[in-house]
C-alpha cells in the first residue's frame, strides 16, 4: 500500500496566500478527485507536490519518507494541463509517449526495442496506434489528452497526478482514459485527478479532496454533489 502524506502545506505567490496550512493523508487503490472552483489552488497543490512551484511551508511524505527529486522521479508521474503544451513543437504522438521513458533513462542510455514495444502497447490501449506518426498539433484535443496520459501511464510509478484531463474532450477519449485509470487503481496505485466540473464526478472518483477558501477537506462524491446542489437552491 502507498501512503501520501501532506503535512501543513502552505503556498504563497508573492504576498498572496493560495493554500493555507493544509494536511491530508491519501492511500493507494483509489482515484481521488481534486475539486473546487477555478482559482482555489488545485493546480498549485499539484505543482507544490512536484516542486514545480515552491511551497512556502510544509512537508510531503511518501510512505513516511520525505519526498525529494529522486523519489519524485521514481514514484510519481505527472500529466500537466493540456493547454500548457506547446503545439508548435515538432513532435509526433509516438515520440511524445516515448518521452515518458526517456525522462527516466540515465544520460546517454539509448532507447531499445523493449522501450519501443512498451510505447506501441500503450498506444494500442489508448487507441492511438493509427495516429502514432501524426504531429501533436494535427490531432484532436481528446486524442492529444490520451497521448499525454499515455506518456504518464507508461512510467512505472506509484502515484499518478493528472491536471484537468477530462476537460473539453470527446466521450470516447473520456471512456478510454477512465478505464485505464481504473486499471491502475486495481494495481493498487494512488491516482489524483484535478477536475473543476461537477458533471460526472460520481462516475469518475472514489473520494474527493475539496478545495475551498485556501483549505481542503475530504468528502464523498455523493455528499459533495448534494451539498453543491443545496447551495445552488
Amino acid at each position: 500500500m502507498v501512503k501520501l502524506k501532506i503535512n501543513n502545506l502552505t503556498v504563497n505567490y508573492g504576498n498572496k496566500n493560495i493554500l493555507d496550512n493544509i494536511s491530508i493523508t491519501l492511500t493507494s487503490g483509489k482515484i481521488y478527485g481534486l475539486v473546487g472552483s477555478n482559482g482555489t489552488g488545485k493546480s498549485t497543490f499539484i505543482k507544490a507536490i512536484f516542486g514545480i512551484n515552491k511551497k512556502t511551508n510544509g512537508d510531503i511524505f511518501l510512505n513516511e519518507e520525505k519526498i525529494n527529486k529522486n523519489i519524485l522521479k521514481k514514484f510519481f508521474s505527472y500529466v500537466p494541463q493540456r493547454s500548457e503544451i506547446d503545439l508548435n513543437f515538432p513532435i509526433n504522438i509516438f515520440d511524445l509517449v516515448l518521452m515518458g521513458i526517456e525522462s527516466q533513462k540515465k544520460i546517454l542510455d539509448p532507447i531499445n526495442e523493449n522501450d519501443k514495444n512498451k510505447v506501441n502497447n500503450i498506444l494500442e490501449k489508448m487507441e492511438l496506434t493509427d495516429l502514432r506518426n501524426r504531429l501533436l498539433s494535427d490531432v484532436s484535443g481528446g486524442q492529444r489528452q490520451r497521448a499525454l496520459v499515455a506518456r504518464s501511464l507508461i512510467q512505472d510509478a506509484n502515484v499518478y497526478i493528472l491536471d484537468e484531463p477530462f476537460i473539453g474532450i470527446d466521450d470516447k477519449s473520456e471512456t478510454i482514459i477512465l478505464s485505464l485509470l481504473k486499471e491502475m487503481k486495481k494495481k493498487n496505485k494512488l491516482i489524483l485527478v484535478a477536475h473543476h466540473d461537477l458533471n460526472k464526478i460520481e462516475r469518475y472518483f472514489d473520494d474527493l479532496i475539496v478545495f475551498k477558501n485556501k483549505k481542503i477537506n475530504e468528502q464523498t462524491p455523493k455528499n459533495y454533489v448534494a451539498e453543491i446542489l443545496r447551495e445552488a437552491r
Binding site: 514545480i52 500537466p80 513543437f89 527516466q104
Partner: protein
C-alpha cells in the same frame, strides 16, 4: 572557379571557409533550441549589447571576444537586476539595455577614430579571421556540441514541456540559462565574420528553415546544422566573388533559401 582557385592560394580564404562552416553548424545547433523556446531575440539583444566591449578591445588591441564577453555578462547582469527590482517586463528591460549599450559602443568607436573599422564590426569581415580565431571557434563549438549531446534529453524536455521536465527532477532553469550562455558564446565567436547587426540571423534562419522541412525535432537539429554550414559557404562565395560584405551575403542567401522552402511548404499544405 576563381573562388576555388583562390581557396587553394590564400590562407585567409581557407580560414574564412573553415570558420564559416564551424559557426554555421554550431549556430544551427544552438538556434534550434532557442527558436522553439522563443528566446532567439535574447541573442539579438546580446549581439548589440557587446558592441562597446568590441570597440574597447579593438582600441586596446586585445582579442575582440574578451571585450565582447565582458560586456555580454555585464548586459545580462543589468537586465536581470532591473527585471528583478522593477515592475517592468523583461522584454522592455532587454530593449532598454541593449539599445543603450549599442549607443555607447557607437560613441566609443567614433571617438576612438575607428570609423573605418566600424563597418567591419557592424557587418562582419569574414576575410579578416585569423588562424587563432578559427582554432578558438573550433574548441568552443566542440565543447558546445559535447554538452548538448550528453544532456540532449534534458535540453529537449526542458524546451518542450517545462512542467513535465520539472516533475521529472530536471533543473529546467539551469538548462535554460546554460542555453542562453551558449547562445551568447556562439554570437561572440560569429561576430567577426557576420557582424553585430546580423549575427542573430545565423541563430534564427537555418533552424526556422529546418523546421519547415521536418516535423521531427532531432531531424530539425541535423538539418539546421547542415543548412547553417552550407549557407555560410555559399554566402562566403558570393561575398568574395562580388566583393559584398560577408555578413549580409550569408544572411541574404539564408533568407532566400528560407523563402524558397516556405513556398514549397505552403504548396505541400495546399496541394
Amino acid at each position: 572557379m576563381e573562388f576555388i582557385y583562390s581557396l587553394f592560394k590564400y590562407s585567409f580564404l581557407q580560414n574564412a571557409l573553415i570558420i564559416g562552416i564551424i559557426i554555421g553548424t554550431v549556430a544551427g545547433l544552438v538556434g534550434s533550441f532557442s527558436i522553439l523556446q522563443g528566446t532567439s531575440l535574447i541573442g539579438d539583444a546580446m549581439s548589440h549589447a557587446v558592441l562597446p566591449g568590441i570597440a574597447i578591445a579593438f582600441l586596446l588591441g586585445i582579442p575582440l571576444y574578451i571585450g565582447a564577453g565582458i560586456f555580454g555578462i555585464l548586459a545580462a547582469s543589468i537586465i536581470a537586476l532591473i527585471t528583478e527590482y522593477s515592475p517592468l517586463k523583461s522584454d522592455t528591460v532587454i530593449g532598454l539595455t541593449f539599445s543603450s549599450f549599442f549607443a555607447l559602443g557607437t560613441i566609443i568607436i567614433s571617438q576612438g577614430h575607428a570609423n573605418a573599422k566600424l563597418n567591419d564590426i557592424l557587418f562582419g569581415n569574414i576575410l579578416s579571421v585569423s588562424k587563432l580565431d578559427v582554432i578558438s571557434s573550433l574548441v568552443v563549438s566542440v565543447v558546445i556540441f559535447i554538452i548538448i549531446t550528453i544532456f540532449y534529453r534534458n535540453f529537449y524536455l526542458s524546451t518542450f514541456d517545462k512542467a513535465f521536465a520539472k516533475s521529472q527532477g530536471i533543473n529546467v532553469t539551469f538548462y535554460n540559462q546554460l542555453l542562453i550562455l551558449m547562445l551568447t558564446v556562439v554570437i561572440i565567436i560569429a561576430l567577426q565574420a557576420i557582424g553585430v547587426i546580423l549575427v542573430t540571423a545565423l541563430l534564427i534562419i537555418p533552424p526556422a528553415t529546418a523546421r519547415l522541412i521536418t516535423n521531427k525535432f532531432a531531424n530539425m537539429i541535423k538539418f539546421s546544422m547542415i543548412i547553417g554550414a552550407l549557407e555560410s559557404v555559399c554566402g562566403l562565395f558570393i561575398s568574395y566573388s562580388f566583393d559584398w560584405p560577408s555578413g549580409p551575403s550569408i544572411v541574404l542567401i539564408s533568407a532566400i533559401l528560407f523563402l524558397i522552402i516556405f513556398i514549397f511548404y505552403r504548396l505541400r499544405k495546399i496541394l
